[in-house]
Point group: C2
Chain length 363, copies 2
């Protein structure tokens, strides 16, 4: 039986609660003899600031590098609002992305049939929605230098962030999108602002060339990021795979997630390059740390458990186990089990732990 | 009777058609003795490229500077897709914004009751929606330097865009938002990414300080731009005035516009600083040039006519005339007159010219 090393970084807010449910599922897979998981747990975000004064300790970073996959909960909360920019909780997550080289962020936006009515959009626009946003995650304005605030002679301050992309960075993320599309409905939309940004010009040019040279069998459409945001609201089902840069991806993937009405249910995968047959990877729910409901057994653990399903698929090659877990989630929902965020107004809701237990029972 | 100088820049695609309807309305106001309008017309965008090889001639730029207000249609289309970056149609619009100093872009997102069902969102979420996005328009990544593509030694290219904001730029746009909120529901939400961007840190800090010093009577909320995009989809009515930077404003205002179901109906104003009691201003519909329906008398002229109403209000101080024009639009809609974009499936639709005539009749 193969053994996989997992680093669990529950983080802040509801992170620890939803991570707890993932541990139950891992225990079930081990008992069922599907694989052996060696799980270590460490701190990240505000929890790490409280313990070590930094949002990610060197020890945790080294454990992440040694793991086959990192499962990440969520970070941040009002408690750390006053922390300096360099040490804020998010810096822990950004460092993991950068130092593990996780350039490809896959964010599926799926509308679960049982939840189509929870969407803000009309049912017919989102029912059956199944798109994936492929977001570049280690470049762009998130990491470009200079990134600074300087004080000018007249006392004013001047803040600068720098959006940088190279041909190679664009090619490798576009290749991820095209490869993924081939296994799906074979359509890629690429979003940028080439009418305003030079990085958009290079983005469009590079995607176009790569497509012509290696992926001409895949449908390709270019769309301006502002128009793309509109189109996601107007008619999201027109898309299959949507590839875009770090900042546009941050916004567009949140719009797409919200459309589904299932924000508490959406997982994500952040993947590095394949080297010697393996790739670094981090899996995390799309939702945040939700400090307002933390510690009350109210959070929906499905996004986190779904992130484990993505790890089974992309990091461990346990495709059958991944399918099994995802269909256990679907059956649990179909049976009417609901946490508060997805329950109909007035309907009965179960807690975080009960939802985890129900999914394990369906396995 | 006062005389106002208007420069009409119809531009490309449906621009000339919708501009034509504005001329009818101006003629009516002149006949009614409300004011005298001296209207000049010039080329911008693709039309200017075709005539002069540049998207805005020096003569047109000078006329814009001399005018009391510029009324702008729309620019761009597939015909000019191959034009160089420096001369692309959009560059004409960007130059007008920059050289006229139009730092404040006001984009109301209003859901017309008669059209609430046209929204992708459920009726109850958008019915009665009335928010204004205040977008910074002359700074940020649109204009920051360096903005370039360089070829590296290994043959790769590297593209750079620079997001720059100074304290002063943030203060003046925030002041516009606070002043506007005082005349409305007295609430401002300020959107940035202070968790990732230094410009976001300075933005949040500056807005917070200005609020404490001069606007503590106005409600203020800070929201991350990605979360803001989500919230606009989840529950747009939570906002009143939303202030944000140039790039986030581009995307968030398009999301907000699409929510209303009335994209063809939304005007915008781009305003400069008040100097000697006057301010430079440009008014334009939120929609684009829609080349697919250009020249067919299909476009909805309401966004363009609504932009004139904003000019009457903000540039000419003709508040009563502005109200009169806006209520003529509302009555025309209430009477069931619809262009194709807002007609119920299968219902009768009128053309661009007929809609303009109907609005003039209601005046
Ligand atoms: C927490 C924050 C730094 C992060 C981002 O901006 O990338 C989050 O919004 C996300 O999308 O994962
Ligand atoms: C045409 C384009 C340059 C422009 C922008 O990006 O600002 C447009 O999208 C807008 O919002 O007015």
């Amino acid at each position: 039986m193969a053994t996989y090393k997992i680093l669990l970084l529950p983080g802040d807010g509801i992170g620890p609660e939803v991570a707890q449910e993932v541990s139950k599922v891992l225990a079930w897979f081990t008992r069922a003899g599907i694989a052996q998981f060696e799980t270590e747990t460490d701190l990240v975000g505000g929890a790490a600031i409280d313990a070590h004064g930094v949002p990610l300790s060197e020890a945790a970073m080294n454990r992440a590098k040694a793991a086959d996959a990192v499962l990440f909960g969520a970070v941040g909360g009002p408690k750390w609002a006053g922390v300096s920019y360099a040490k804020r909780p998010e810096a822990g997550l950004l460092r993991l992305r950068k130092d593990l080289g996780l350039f490809a962020n896959l964010r599926p936006a799926i509308c679960y049939p049982a939840l189509a009515d929870a969407s803000a959009l009309k049912r017919e626009l989102v029912e059956g929605l199944d798109i994936v946003i492929v977001r570049e995650l280690t470049g762009g304005v998130y990491f470009g230098e200079p990134k600074e605030i300087v004080t000018l002679e007249d006392g004013q301050k001047r803040a600068v962030d720098t959006q940088v992309y190279t041909t190679g960075e664009i090619e490798r993320i576009a290749a991820v999108a095209f490869d993924l599309a081939r296994k799906r409905r074979n359509k890629v939309a690429s979003a940028e602002k080439h009418n305003v940004m030079k990085s958009g010009v290079l983005w469009k040019e590079t995607v176009t060339r790569l497509h012509a040279e290696q992926y001409s069998d895949v449908g390709l459409e270019h769309v301006l990021a502002d128009n793309c945001a509109m189109q996601l609201v107007r008619n999201p089902k027109q898309y299959d795979v949507l590839v875009t840069d770090n900042l546009f991806g941050d916004i567009l993937s949140d719009v797409a997630a919200m459309l589904t009405g299932s924000l508490g249910m959406l997982p994500s995968a952040s993947l590095g390059a394949v080297e010697n047959g393996t790739r670094r990877a981090l899996y995390e729910p799309v939702h945040g740390s939700a400090p307002d409901i933390a510690g009350q057994n109210l959070a929906n653990p499905i996004a986190m458990i779904g992130s484990l399903a993505m790890a089974l698929r992309y990091s461990f090659g346990l495709l059958k186990a991944a399918d099994q877990l995802e269909s256990a989630i679907t059956r649990t929902l179909a049976s009417g089990t609901r946490t508060r965020d997805i329950a109909a107004p007035g309907a009965n809701a179960v807690g975080t732990a009960e939802m985890g237990d129900a999914i394990v029972r369906e396995l």
